[in-house]
Every structure is written in C-alpha cells, then in structure tokens.
C-alpha cells in the first residue's frame, strides 16, 4: 500500500478554486515533484499535506489513516520553505535541535543527532553560527538538516532552490538527490522549474489550473506527453499545425510533408486538424533514410549557444520551428538556404486539438 494517498482533494477560497479533483499516491521512499506554473495549485496541495491549509473536500491518508485534519505538529512531516524560515535567534545547531527539544529527547542523544545532521549536510564547522551569518546555500542546508533531524515520514519541499543562483542550484539539486538516496525519506517537492523536476524526480505530477494534468516518470512525460500542456511545459518543443490526410486514416500531413501515424481511434475524421510536436533536438539535417520523415525548410537564423547551435527554420507551410544541433552538424544551416531535414518518426507526437485551444 502506498505511504501517502490523496483522494479527490479540493480547496476553494471564497469563490476561487485553488485545487480540484486531486488524486495522487506516493510510495515510501519516492521522490515526487509537483510541477506547474505559479497559481496552478501545487503549493496549495503541499500546504494541505503539511496541515497549514485545510482542504475543502477530500482526504489525505498516511499508512491508510486519515490525517486530513491532523495538526501540522502531529504529522511528523519535515518542511523546507522557500525562504528557509530558519529561526533567526538560534544558532545552526539549535535550529537543528529544535524538533528534538520539542520531542524531549535526552541531551546526549540530541547532541549526537545534531552532529550527524551537520555532517550529513556538510556544515560541521558552522554549528555555532547564526543563520544571518550564512550564505544562501548554507542556510538551505541548515533548513534541510532541521527538517530531517527528527526522522520525518515525508519531507515536503516548497521551491527550496528558487532563491539560489544557477550554479548553486545545480549543486544543490545533486545534494538533494544524495540526501534522498542516503536517508531514504520520501520527498514531495514543489517547483515551477521543469529542468529541476526532470533532473530530480522519480515521478512528476504536472499541475495546471488547480488540477493534475499528468503524472508519470520524467522520461515518459517528456517523451510521450498525452496533453499539449505537458508537451509544452516540459522541455522545449515545436508545435505545428497538421491534419489527417483526406485519403488515409493512418497518415498525417504537416509542415509540408506527410507521414504515417496511428491516430487515436474514432476521434479523427478526414481533414481534422491536429497538433504535431517535435523537440528541437530531434530535428536533424540531411536526406531522410529508411522510415525517417523528410521535409524541406528555409534557414532563418543560426545562433551559437555554447555546446549547441540553435537554428530557426521556416517550413513550407510558413511555420517556424527550432532545431538544436551540434556545431559540426549545423554547418549546412546557412541563413537563407533551403535545406533537407529529417526526423525519426518515434520522436514525433500528434495530439488532437483541444476544444479550448489552450
């Protein structure tokens, strides 16, 4: 049985719906990320899990026991806040010891545990500092050590890396992964940064407008998204308009070419418009071979962005698409030239056009 089961959870503020129809179960030891744009409900869900927000509807169960209305202090969940929320009047050691003192641990046991936690996050020599004397990254480590000290069932993290600069953020991502591995604690992690979510999570729940749009391992969501929203939110993507071929139900026509694609049964009639997506890194230059999809496009712009070249193409249908290529593969991409491009059919996605047209 899953450690944490969220069943049909909803939260409404006055007339605004923050969350609706949330179903999610988290296995023990899992790293689950709640990903979504701001205002999508992910933080509301995290606050409900922590007990800081009371859901309007639905239940949260831990080990099968309903904890929806249990006080935050009785949940035994660690919480890492966006701005760390360290106690400014306490030293690093006393911040970490706070949960242990509250639980009336013996002095010697507290001391042992605090030094364990300090070495776990690599801050052994800063035990007596006050939070304001630490850098952002160090404060972050203290916040994590404090939240893990009492052995929480689940660690909830609310955009813990958003205040750090890019370099530090990457280091801390690895650090968090290591802590997750070493402690075996279940992590529920909120972020709006899709790269962070992809790099760290076992599973991602993608939020939009107060709902979970899709849940799955990062690879599945990236490679086989089943919604336009997820296809666009995770990683970079090109969206192109296409339609079902008039003469063949298994063929799609888009960006001046025609290719086979098994369509969702019954939904598409001849000429129905569809959305075709293809990731920039899956577009290659050269004649199509085998079952590759070939098409011609005009090079609009060629920008060097470090490891890769970023090429802006205009297709025969006048749509623009971005391709990222290694420099040596991109030599043919001279602006103004019309070039042959190819795509592996497994890298392409076709989605029905959503009624809302979002």
């Amino acid at each position: 049985m899953a450690l944490l089961v969220i069943d049909d959870l909803a939260k409404t503020y006055d007339k605004v719906t923050a969350l609706t129809g949330i179903n999610l179960s988290v296995e023990a030891g899992e790293f689950v990320t709640l990903l979504g744009p701001s205002g999508s409900g992910k933080t509301t869900l995290l606050m409900s899990l922590a007990g800081f927000t009371t859901p309007s509807k639905g239940t949260i169960r831990l080990d099968g026991k309903d904890i929806t209305h249990v006080d935050p202090e009785d949940r035994n969940f660690g919480f890492v806040f966006q701005g760390y929320a360290l106690f400014p009047h306490l030293t690093v050691a006393n911040n970490i010891a706070f949960s242990l003192r509250v639980r009336k641990w013996e002095k010697a046991r507290i001391a042992t545990r605090v030094s364990e936690m300090l070495s776990l996050v690599g801050l052994d020599n800063l035990a007596e500092r006050k939070p304001r004397e630490l850098s952002g990254g160090q404060q972050q480590r203290v916040a994590i050590a404090r939240a893990l000290a009492f052995g929480p069932r689940i660690l909830l993290l609310d955009e813990p890396l958003s205040a750090l600069d890019r370099m530090l953020r990457e280091t801390m991502q690895k650090e968090l992964k290591r802590l997750h591995r070493e402690t075996g604690v279940t992590f529920v992690y909120v972020t709006h940064d899709q790269e962070e979510a992809i790099a760290m999570s076992d599973r991602i729940a993608v939020f939009n407008h107060g709902r979970i749009v899709e849940i799955g391992p990062p690879r599945d969501l990236y490679k086989k998204p089943s919604t336009r929203f997820v296809a666009g939110f995770l990683g970079e993507n090109n969206f192109l308009s296409g339609h079902r071929a008039d003469d063949d139900a298994t063929k799609v026509e888009a960006f001046g070419t025609r290719f086979g694609f098994p369509l969702a049964k019954g939904r598409e009639r001849p000429g129905d418009s569809l959305t075709v997506w293809v990731r920039p890194e899956d577009i290659r230059i050269g004649q199509a071979t085998g079952d590759e999809i070939g098409f011609r496009a005009t090079v609009v712009e060629n920008a060097f962005v470090g490891a890769l070249e970023r090429i802006l193409l205009r297709t025969a249908t006048g749509e623009q698409m971005v391709a990222t290529l290694r420099s040596e593969a991109a030599v043919a991409a001279v602006p103004g030239q019309i070039i042959d491009c190819r795509i592996d059919p497994s890298a392409i996605g076709v989605l029905p056009n959503e009624a809302s047209g979002s």
């Binding site: 922590a50 007990g51 800081f52 006080d71 935050p72 202090e73 949940r75 035994n76 969940f77 660690g78 919480f79 806040f81 701005g83 929320a85 360290l86 106690f87 400014p88 009047h89 706070f98 949960s99 509250v102 639980r103 304001r132 404090r146 939240a147 009492f150 909830l156």
Partner: protein, 267 residues
Amino acid sequence: MKPRRIIEVGLPRLLAWCLLGFLFVPILVVIPVALTDRDYLSLPQDGVSMQHFAALADWSKGWLPSMLTSAGIALACAAIATALGVAFAVGAWAAGGWWPSLMRILLLSPMIVPPIIYAVGMVKLWARLSLLDSYTGVVLVHVVLALPLTVLAIGASLSNLDQRLVQAARSLGARPMTVFGKVILPNIVPGVAAGALLAFVASWDEITVTLFITGRAVVTLPRRIWTSIQDAVDPALAAIATVLLVVTVLALVARALIEHRQQRQKF
C-alpha cells in the same frame, strides 16, 4: 574661510546650533535653578546649595511619596500594557487579514482623541464604577493611554519577523504555545522592551486625565508638581525637574541602545 564656504557650510551650521539651543537651553536652565541658595525660583547667588534636593528626599514634603506612587503606577501600567500589547500584536500578526487592521485603528484611538475629552468621559465612568481617586482607576486609565505605544512598538518588531517561522516551528512538532514562547517571543524582545519603556514613561508624566480622576488619595508626581505650582513657586520644582530630566535622558539612552541592538540583529 572663503565667503562661499561661510554661506554654504557655516550659516546652516550656525542655524542648526541656534535651533538646538532654542530647544535645549530652557530645559537645561532648570539645573542651575535647582541649585539655588534662595527660597524662590532664581539662579544661585552666593554659591550653590543642595537644599532643594534635600527637600525632595524629605518624606513629609510629599515629593518622595508622590514619586513612589508614580513609579508604582507606571510599573503596573507598563507591565499590563506590555502584556496586553504582546497579546494583541502577536494575535493580529498571526491572524492577518482585514479585521486585525480595523482593531489596530480602534486601539490607536486613545492617541487620536484629545486627552481632555477622554478625561471627561473617564470621570463619568469612574464615578459610576467607584474608581475615582483609586490606584486601580489610575492604572487602568494609564494602560489605555499606553496601549497604543506598546502595540506600535511590538508590532514594528513583528513586522520584521517571517510569518513562516510559525509554520516551520509547527512542522517541527511545536504546539502553538511553544511556538509563542520559543520562537515569537525571543525574536521580539527589543520591541517588547521598547514598548514597556514607552508605557512606563507615558504613565510617569501623564497629567491631564490624572488631574480629573484623582483627589486626595492618589497623588502622582505630575499632580504634586501641578499643585505646588499653584501654591508657590518653590525651587524644589526645579530640583524635581532636574531629576526627571536625568531619568528621561537615561530612558532615551536605554532606548537608543535597544534600537542599536535591534539594527544589529537584522544584519
């Protein structure tokens, strides 16, 4: 010095000193007057004398008892106003939303209503409750007058405090009262101390309302001074003014030190 420099630097400086003099000389003049060797308000003529300070210490002259009365009332007032101020400010801070803002405006009303108007109302009310000319009556009135000061001082301290500290403490297993004692209170000590000091001072020199609601039984220091001005112009008045001046300066220094510490804590 070049003429331009005199106009740009010298003149403003001179003006500043004149203004300071205007503000402080009348206050400082009480010090020599307190040391006069005469029996009337005057500057020392044939040498200085401590006789008027001695008179302050003389129990039968009534200065010492009134000082003790004022100190007692001011301490009680500071204690109660600080406790209530902490309760209100922390409650309003934790609750958030529009109604604490409304309550805050109501609480600040004693600062807005002229004391004389308030005094008239209090006489009527205290007469009905038999609190006229009683210590309880004076302390309660002073608490009302001091409450805005403590609420403002403590509120200022709280406004620098991250609301999420409460959530952090609770997620770590602390009950609300533990959060208050171990997290909120230690972080607002400077504001609480400043509030208590302000409340003490507010009560210590309150005269308007006190005049209305006291008679023979409760004689605070300001009331004693008031009475003595009406009787005769006794140099003991200057002596008491000197003592108050010293106490006030000490209080200001204490407050400056507290604020200095508060500033340092932020960085």
